[in-house]
Every structure is written in C-alpha cells, then in structure tokens.
C-alpha cells in the first residue's frame, strides 16, 4: 500500500510541470490568504507585545478608582505623597520611597512629513522614576535637569514624530522645551512618550494634581501586593485603585488588538473560502486530465486509497508551498516595520513594530494546509470513485 502511494504520488508530482498554470493558481490563492492573515496578525501582535512588555510585576500603578487609564485619572498632590509613604512601597538606600507621582498630558505633534496633529503622551516624572524603571536607558544625550524645561524622548516617539531629535526645541502651551536626550526601554509603551520633570510640567501645563503614582513594591509577592492594596482600600482618605503594572498595561491593549484580530481573521476567512474554491477547481481539473491514467492504474491493480492519498498529497504540497511563500512575503515586508496609532483605551499614540512571530508563521501554514485539505478532498474522492470502464472509455 505504502509503495503504491509513493509510486502514484511521485508520478503525479513528476507531471506537475505540465499542469503548471492551474497549480500556480492554487499556490497564488494561498499565498494571498496567508500573506494577508500573517501581516494583519503581525500588526496586532506587535501592538500587544509593546504593551505586554511594559511594566514589571513588582511594580504597581495607582489611579483614581473608577479610572481605567491615566488620562482620565486624577491624584491630588497630598494624596500622592501619602501613597508614596505607605509601608508596602520599597525604599532606596537613602530611605526615600521608590514612588513617582506622575503627570500625564497630551501634546499635539505631527508625524514625520505630515502636518496634522497627533495625541502624543507627555509624562511628567519625579526623579525616582529612573530608579523605579531601571529598564530605561539613555541612548543619546543626557537626562533632563530638574527645574528646567528640558525633555527626554522615547526612541519610538523620536522616530515617528517630527522635531524630536536631541537639541531641537518644541513649543507647547506658553512654554518652549529643549530635547536633551533619547531613551529606550526595551520597546515598551514608554518609548512612545516624552518625559519631563513633573514639577516643571505641572507649572507649564497649569495642573494642580497628578494622574498616577507608580511605585516599586517592598515585597513583590502576592502577599506584598495584597497588603498594599488593602492598606489603600482601608484608608478612607483615598479613593484609589492599585494595579500591578503588567495587569494595567495588558488591559490597555484589549480594544485595539481585539479589533485588529477580528479584522484579520474575518478577512482571511473570506479569502480562505475563495482560495478553497480555487484549489477545488484546480484539483478537479488535475484529476480530470489524468482520469485515463488513474483508471489504468486501477485496472492493473492499484487500490482506491493510494489514489485518494496521492491527490491529497499533491494538494497539500501545493498549499504548503503557498503558505510558505505567503509567510515569507509577510515576514519580508512587515516584520520590524514601525508605525504608530491611536490607542482607544488611552486616547494617545502608541508606536510599535510589526512582529511576524514563529507562532504566526505556523498559524499561516496550518491555514494553508486546511485550505489544501479542503480543496483536495472531494477531487481525490472523485478520482478514486471513477468507474474504471467509464474513465477508460474517454480514451
């Protein structure tokens, strides 16, 4: 049986070049499906990855309870100080609490080469912010000085938006700021931000309170987190919710990744149906053009199963080729491409890189095989069922 399968399959494959046109149709159809699917999912994966790599589980972000994003939150000055001094917050060698009360506003900046404004997040941070977020490093220039209108800019923000290179000046409200440094923080969401000294930002933007407090937990375990959370919720002075950073940032990705994934799967599903019809067509005509040959094989004693299997193998191989080419194209054109969009959860721009991961490529290949299997099955069965006498009469 196995030898029969191998023999028929090899024979099929050997005369594939004669059916090149029709076979290419199958391949191109599947290239389209897999290419589109992988590219769109790479978009959502890149966005999700950027938010998922933001924050560490031993840090918490504190917002006004009821607020799901920093922009809509508000933490009065006095409360921010009290929150930083809670027992559950870690302290540095000098005994200062590792907590940074932060201001978050949006500033309008055009993308490079464009003119219309985008909501770019502008974060005012306290000096401890750099000790708390130790993943952040300056890649060009230096940190801003305290009390001066200087900013440092995330690597991604500086790539996406105009006028954000070291030494350039930007005007917001009634203030001019100088860009003194570019920072990176492992491709996370902070790289889309502009950072300045909280006190300076507060006076420039005429704010009275902060938006959030980010702090390092004294005890990063579940118990330590719960203790801090309970301390805050028990204290009647506060109306504050405490979230672990990863939990907070994962939530920010929800709406947009959901939308992009929905779009990707819907479009790919329709394209897959179309490609399946194409594959069916091609395999039916492949079978039709070989019906005499198949009937001859049957007549000299080859079984029905090897015929079915050989047709299926041909369809699957074509599909696999299409899937591989589609995935490769998506990888070549999309992987690492940068773009920025408005995150609906935070109402601010997030810049990210498209990521074509191995999981996505495998997913693309399995879609391709699915289409190939669906497109090959019925023609294969028809080939096997064809009565030998009828088929031979076609000669």
């Amino acid at each position: 049986m196995t030898t029969q399968i191998v023999q028929i399959t090899l024979m099929n494959l050997r005369n594939l070049p004669q059916r090149l046109g029709a076979s290419l149709v199958v391949v191109i159809g599947i290239v389209g499906v897999v290419g589109v699917l992988v590219s769109i999912l790479a978009l959502s994966e890149g966005f999700r990855h950027t938010l998922a790599s933001t924050g560490r589980s031993h840090r918490v972000i504190m917002l006004r309870s009821g607020s799901d994003a920093e922009l809509s939150s508000g933490v009065p000055r006095d409360q921010a100080t009290l929150l930083g001094n809670l027992a559950g917050v870690a302290r540095d060698a000098g005994g200062r609490p590792l907590a940074s009360a932060e201001l978050m506003v949006m500033v309008d900046l055009p993308r490079r080469g464009e003119t219309n404004p985008n909501n770019v997040p502008f974060r005012g941070v306290q000096p401890t912010a750099f000790a708390i977020r130790d993943e952040l490093t300056i890649v060009e220039g230096r940190r801003f000085e305290r009390g001066v209108r200087e900013v440092i800019v995330g690597r991604k923000a500086s790539q996406q938006f105009a006028g954000l290179s070291v030494g350039s000046r930007i005007a917001f409200r009634d203030s001019d700021w100088t860009v003194v440094g570019i920072f990176q923080s492992g491709g996370d969401v902070h790289e889309s931000e502009i950072w300045a000294d909280a006190e300076v930002a507060m006076s420039a933007f005429r704010r009275q309170g902060y938006q959030s407090v980010t702090a390092t937990l004294a005890d990063g375990s579940a118990a330590g987190f719960t203790a801090l959370k309970d301390a805050v919720s028990r204290d009647r002075r506060f109306s504050i919710s405490v979230l672990r950073e990863p939990e907070y940032y994962a939530k920010q990705a929800k709406i947009l990744s959901g939308l992009i994934n929905g779009l990707g799967y819907t479009v790919a599903a329709f394209m897959a149906i179309g490609a399946m019809f194409g594959a069916l067509n091609c395999m039916y005509s492949a079978v039709a053009s070989r019906q005499v040959e198949i009937a001859t094989l049957r007549a000299i004693g080859f079984g029905g199963t090897p015929v079915v299997v050989s047709v299926m193998i041909e369809a699957l191989l074509l599909a696999l080729l299409g899937g591989a080419v589609g995935g490769a194209l998506a990888y070549l054109y999309c992987d690492g491409a940068s773009l920025s969009t408005l995150n609906f959860n935070t109402f601010s721009q997030v810049a990210f890189d498209l990521r074509v991961t191995s999981t996505l490529l495998v997913q693309g290949l399995s879609w391709a095989l699915g289409i190939g299997a669906a497109g090959g099955l019925f023609p294969a069965i028809r080939a096997a069922r064809l009565p030998v006498t009828v088929a031979l009469r076609a000669l």
């Binding site: 290419l24 506003v105 985008n118 819907t266 329709f270 194409g278």
Partner: protein, 388 residues
C-alpha cells in the same frame, strides 16, 4: 441579447468549474463590499462634515478645556450665525470605559448646530427644560434597551460630583436619530445638560471642551477660523479653530491610514481572483477552439467571435460581482444590529457599487481579452485540423 443563451451555454459548459469560479468571484466581491463599508464608515466623519461648521479646541491639545466665557465673544464675530459648546464627560457604563461618548451641552444651541439630527419637538423641549435631562441616539437606546422617561445611570471616569462621587444619573427625555445612514453613526452619543453638569461637578467649573460655530458662508471658513484664533491669541487659553472636515480628517489620520490598509488587502484579493479567473477562462477557450472555428465557419465574424468570448468574461465577473455586493448589502444590516452603536453603521454606498462595477469591468477585460484575441486570430482551417 439574442446571444445570451449561447453565452450561457459556453459559460456553463463545465458546470462545476464555472460554479466554483463564480463562488470565488462572489466571495471576493463580498469581501470588497464589507471592507469598503468599513472604509466608508471610517471616513464618514469627513464625508458627513458640514462645510458650515467650525470647531474650536484648545490650541495645544484637544484634551485641554476652554473658558465658557469665550461663548459670547465668539458669538459676536461677524459671519458666525450660531455657537454651541460641548464637554467630554468620560462615560463608563456597566463598567465599560467609553462604551459611548457622552457630551455635556447646551441643548438648544447644540441641536441647532447639528440640524441633520432629528428629534421630536416635544422631546427637544423636554431636554431643554429638564435639568437632569439627557437624550440618546436611537441605535444606543436600542442596544441597551433604554426607554423614554427612564433613569440613566452613567459613571464618569473624569468628573466627580461635588461630594467626590463618580456616579451620575440622568433622565432620558429624548431620542436622536438621523435619516442619512452615514450621519446615523454621529448620533451614537448621549447628550446631557451642561448647566446641571457644570453646577454639580467638583472641578473644572466654568470651562468647556470645545466650541462648535455655524457660519453663514462656507467660503469664509478659513478667514473666520483665523479671526477666532486671533481673538484669543496670547491669552492663557489659546484656541485652534478649523472646519469640521479638517478636524475629522485629522482625527482619522491619528488612527492611521485605514484606507491604505483596506486597499492593500483588496489588491491581494483581486490579484488572486485575476489569476484564478484568467486561468479558467484561458483553459475554457482552449478547450473550445474547435467550437469557435465552427462558429466562424457558420458566419460569425472575427469581431463577433471576439465579442462573444469577452462577453463571457464580463458576464462571469458581473454575475459574481453583483451577487457578492448584494450579499454584502444583505449581511450588513444584521451585523449593524449585532454591534449596535459600538461601531458606526456599515452600509454599501453608491460609491462602493460604482467602484465595484469598475473593478469587475477591469477584471473582465484583463481575463477576457487574451482569449478573446486568440479567438479573433483563430484560423478556421488550423483550428479544425487541431493545429493550434
């Protein structure tokens, strides 16, 4: 017309093959209809923008607010016939952030600024008279099952009441709608009275989010915008005024180039369809070389034979394309019902139909011309002798 049966017979010479091809074409155009609807909805902000409307926001960021005292000063500008204002409430409903936008507005002014919204006269009056009154878009009301006269409990993520409470309650006194499906998406809002809101809130009193100006002459939009901004230049709250369309385009651009994304996907789809149907057409005509020769023998001219083959391609693509578009149009209303108000309404616009027809024609020519020319060049003797 009298060749239709001949065309039909030619097309369905091999039933399975043609039906499968037709199905791929249908799916392609169905996808085209759906994606194009998304694109149209995405750009509808700009398309439904009223050229007689300007928007004034804070100069450096749309999240900043402006003093309410600007109202009188803008109103006195020559060329401005009406001014309305609105403030972002930051709604959270049933624990979902921004489930829908809620604006605190002056009822009369706001509804005057948007004449394309329809609301029964008595409901409009009730909204103006009820301090805690609210009106909601019809699609939202349908989605959440709201009834006129009921209490509407909505939390704010941004604005606490004087006692620090973020939970607000309003009385639903009116339902907004619009006749144009493209405008209907703009009614997916809840409007609340600014007077009560401003009085009851803890912070930000005496300020509003943005102003909406109606002007008499759209040609003056740029001049008046500049004049308004000049009025507040060098004040603590500088403004940025722009025609509504520019604002909408700018906002859509913040999200990214949706149009380009859709175009790229569709290019991949139609390229595939081109290859697929092209191959099928070529194959089908090759098989019928002898038949075509016979047609020519019985007196069909070269031109007629060409036209016959080309017409077959046109028929295939227009049938598939038409069916696909009809299916898209049929699928969208239940889809809108299911998402009710979470997305703008999707519909197949006339423009989409025309683009679809254009694509179908282009594809038909692209796949039909090569075999059609082959049919034209066909020499009867060679064809019948089996010499290709």
């Amino acid at each position: 017309m009298r060749y239709l049966p001949l065309l039909w017979a030619g097309l369905f010479r091999k039933k399975t093959r043609t039906i499968l091809t037709l199905l791929s074409v249908i799916v392609a155009f169905l996808l085209f209809g759906l994606l194009q609807a998304v694109k149209v909805a995405f750009e509808s902000g700009a398309d439904t923008a009223d050229a007689k409307r300007l928007l004034t926001t804070a100069r450096y960021s749309i999240i900043e607010t402006l003093p309410i005292s600007y109202l009188r000063r803008i109103e006195q500008m020559p060329g401005v016939v009406g001014v309305a204002y609105a403030e972002w409430f930051g709604a959270k409903y049933q624990n979902e952030s921004n489930a829908f936008p809620v604006f605190a507005v002056d009822p009369g002014r706001y509804l005057d600024a948007y004449p394309e919204f329809t609301i029964p006269r008595d409901q409009r009056q009730a909204f103006a008279k009820t301090r805690t009154g609210a009106v909601a878009g019809k699609r939202l009301a349908d989605r959440f099952g709201w009834k006129l006269g009921q209490k509407l409990p909505i939390s704010s993520e941004i604005h606490p009441k004087a006692n620090g409470d973020l939970n607000w309650e309003f009385d639903l006194v009116g339902i907004l709608d619009a006749e144009d499906p493209a405008v209907r998406g703009n009614t997916d809002v809840v409007l609340i009275g600014a007077e009560y809101f401003d009085e009851a809130r803890q912070t930000g009193k005496g300020r509003t989010g943005w102003y909406i100006e109606r002007i008499a002459d759209p040609a003056q939009a740029k001049t008046i915008s500049a004049e308004i901004d000049k009025l507040f230049m060098n004040s603590p709250d500088e403004t940025k005024t722009q025609p509504e369309k520019e604002f909408a385009v700018g906002f859509a651009k913040q999200i990214g180039d949706m149009g380009a994304l859709v175009t790229r996907i569709l290019a991949a789809v139609f390229f595939t369809i081109l290859i697929l149907t092209g191959n099928i057409m070529a194959q089908s005509i090759r098989e019928r070389t002898a038949e075509l020769a016979i047609l020519k023998t019985v007196g069909f001219s070269d031109g007629k034979a060409t036209a016959l083959v080309l017409a077959e391609a046109v028929l295939l693509l227009f049938m598939g394309g038409g069916l696909g578009m009809v299916m898209a149009a049929a699928l969208l209303p239940p889809l809108n019902g299911a998402t009710g108000g979470r997305f703008p309404p999707l519909f197949v616009s006339l423009g989409t139909c025309l683009i679809g027809a254009g694509i179908a024609l282009t594809l038909a020519l692209a796949v039909g011309l090569p075999p059609a020319l082959r049919a034209r060049r066909l020499r009867i003797v060679d064809a019948l002798a089996g010499r290709r």
